[in-house]
């Protein structure tokens, strides 16, 4: 039996035109880790049946499809993560100078995401960003995204036997879902297992609206009821893979107002040296089960929130005073990447502006042999003066039409 190294896997993403319309993802990015799970919430059937044994069957609960994806936060893939978390405004710029994408805390787009696992791919569709966490690992910016999906496809089985020459249709078993083919798209390659070790690949010509029938060009296939089919993994293809944003190229401005924080973050001399930085953006998404759906019918942002944690060297009690008296502060983070324009005047960059933050906790722990650090965990608040809680701007090499 063949075995497969995880290093050969990929993540591919693409925004959907509508939340329930999957698409074949075509943008491939290197993946650090993922932990997405389909959880049918099976439980033992505990009805009284005259048995003294706990159960003789399991039953389905409400299905969830969720988990985490971690990537190095390179400018282009970060754009997709922000796009599935927040609302992208109008993109400006061009290929020569870079594209500027503004994001505000509106609804993000639904995505199709594909992750390969050996020979098959798992396609998640209707994917939205629940929680985006940005921090740094060994100088490299990492983005850990908790996602939720409306549905997924990776494997099913044949419900009606395929009997040899001239097969054009496959009907999928409804044991997992009454609409097992949801997630498949015209043009997908699916692999039908005839017998162990013998497979046939077919390219889908149609995915029937009945949710269980797919068609393909006439092909000789012999497969009994129950034989597995799966979505064939794509061969990944990469454009130029950019470097992630780096801790060392990131400046943090902390001041009384957002405008002053912008000024402070503009140069190393006025910025505040930060030793660890973790930013968390949450959508607290509605994902309740609904009639007609085994899982959620929609994924929609509820109350948005964000936190940011900054660790800096202790110099005086000012930060503790600002915490205890809950003084308003503003934070601007500017991470600068590679130059885009050939005259070195425009660069990849990520700017995050917190218009009003107040420290929830302030710690100055003492450790023998070490300098004293100050760690503030800030709650990002809505600033009624500026009319914002949060603004994010990303400059990269990807046109706005890709988002």
């Amino acid at each position: 039996m063949a075995n497969y190294l995880a290093d050969r896997s990929y993540i591919a993403v693409k925004p959907q035109a509508a939340a329930t319309t999957p698409i074949i993802p075509s943008n491939f990015y290197p993946l650090v880790s993922e932990s997405i799970k389909v959880n049918p919430n099976f439980t033992a059937d505990r009805r009284m049946k005259g048995l003294t044994w706990k159960s003789d069957e399991i039953l389905k609960g409400s299905r969830t499809i969720e988990g985490d994806i971690t990537v190095l936060a390179a400018p282009d893939v970060l754009g997709h993560l922000l796009n599935m978390t927040y609302l992208k405004g109008t993109t400006t710029g061009d290929a020569a100078s870079g594209y500027t994408h503004p994001f505000t805390v509106g609804e993000g787009k639904s995505y199709s995401i594909e992750i390969s696992r050996g020979i098959y791919a798992q396609r998640l569709w209707g994917v939205r960003g629940e929680n985006l966490k940005i921090d740094f690992a060994d100088n490299k910016m990492q983005a850990a995204m908790s996602i939720k999906a409306l549905g997924q496809f990776y494997s099913a089985s044949i419900a009606i036997a395929l009997t040899g020459a001239g097969m054009t249709t496959a009907v999928l078993s409804t044991d997992y879902d009454l609409r097992p083919s949801d997630g498949l798209v015209v043009g997908d390659t699916i692999t039908i297992v005839e017998t162990a070790g013998t497979t046939v690949d077919v390219v889908l010509l149609t995915v029937n609206a009945d949710g269980k029938t797919v068609t393909f060009a006439s092909t000789a296939i012999t497969a009994a009821i129950g034989q597995p089919i799966y979505l064939k993994a794509q061969t990944p293809s990469y454009g130029t893979i950019p470097e992630p944003f780096y801790f060392g190229n990131t400046l943090v401005g902390v001041a009384a107002t957002s405008a002053l924080a912008d000024t402070a973050a503009a140069s190393r001399t006025t910025a505040t040296p930060i030793y660890t930085l973790t930013a968390d953006f949450k959508n607290n998404m509605l994902s309740a089960p609904a009639t007609g759906y085994t899982g959620p019918a929609v994924l929609a942002n509820q109350v948005r929130e964000a936190t940011i944690s900054l660790k800096q060297l202790f110099t005086n009690p000012t930060l503790a005073q600002k915490w205890i008296e809950f003084v308003k502060q503003a934070i601007t983070i500017i991470a600068t990447g590679r130059f885009i324009k050939t005259d070195l005047t425009t660069s990849e960059s990520l700017t995050v502006k917190y218009h009003k933050v107040k420290a929830l906790t302030n710690d100055e722990p003492l450790t023998v042999g070490e300098y004293i650090y100050n760690t503030d965990n800030f709650e990002a608040l809505y600033d009624s003066v500026d009319g914002f809680a949060l603004e994010i701007s990303l400059i990269n090499r990807t046109a706005g039409t890709s988002y």
């Binding site: 074949i24 075509s26 043009g187 690949d201 064939k232 794509q234 061969t235 990944p236 293809s237």
Partner: protein
């Protein structure tokens, strides 16, 4: 005539394929068995079958 298949890069950008290399935008290339990528379109090409002239002489 021999029918062969190549894959054309329809993404509009140069793409790097693991164990294949860079395929320029619009370029057609023969790919390894099992190649499957939405950024490429399978195209049919016809090649004339080569005749072994030495064999014909004999």
């Amino acid at each position: 005539m021999i029918t062969k298949y190549k894959h054309k890069n329809i993404s509009g950008i140069d793409l790097s394929i693991p164990n294949v290399g860079v395929v320029k935008a619009g370029e057609e290339r023969e790919m390894p068995e099992g190649f499957n990528n939405v950024n490429f379109k399978k195209v049919e090409t016809k090649e004339e079958k080569k005749v072994d002239l030495e064999e014909n002489k004999n």
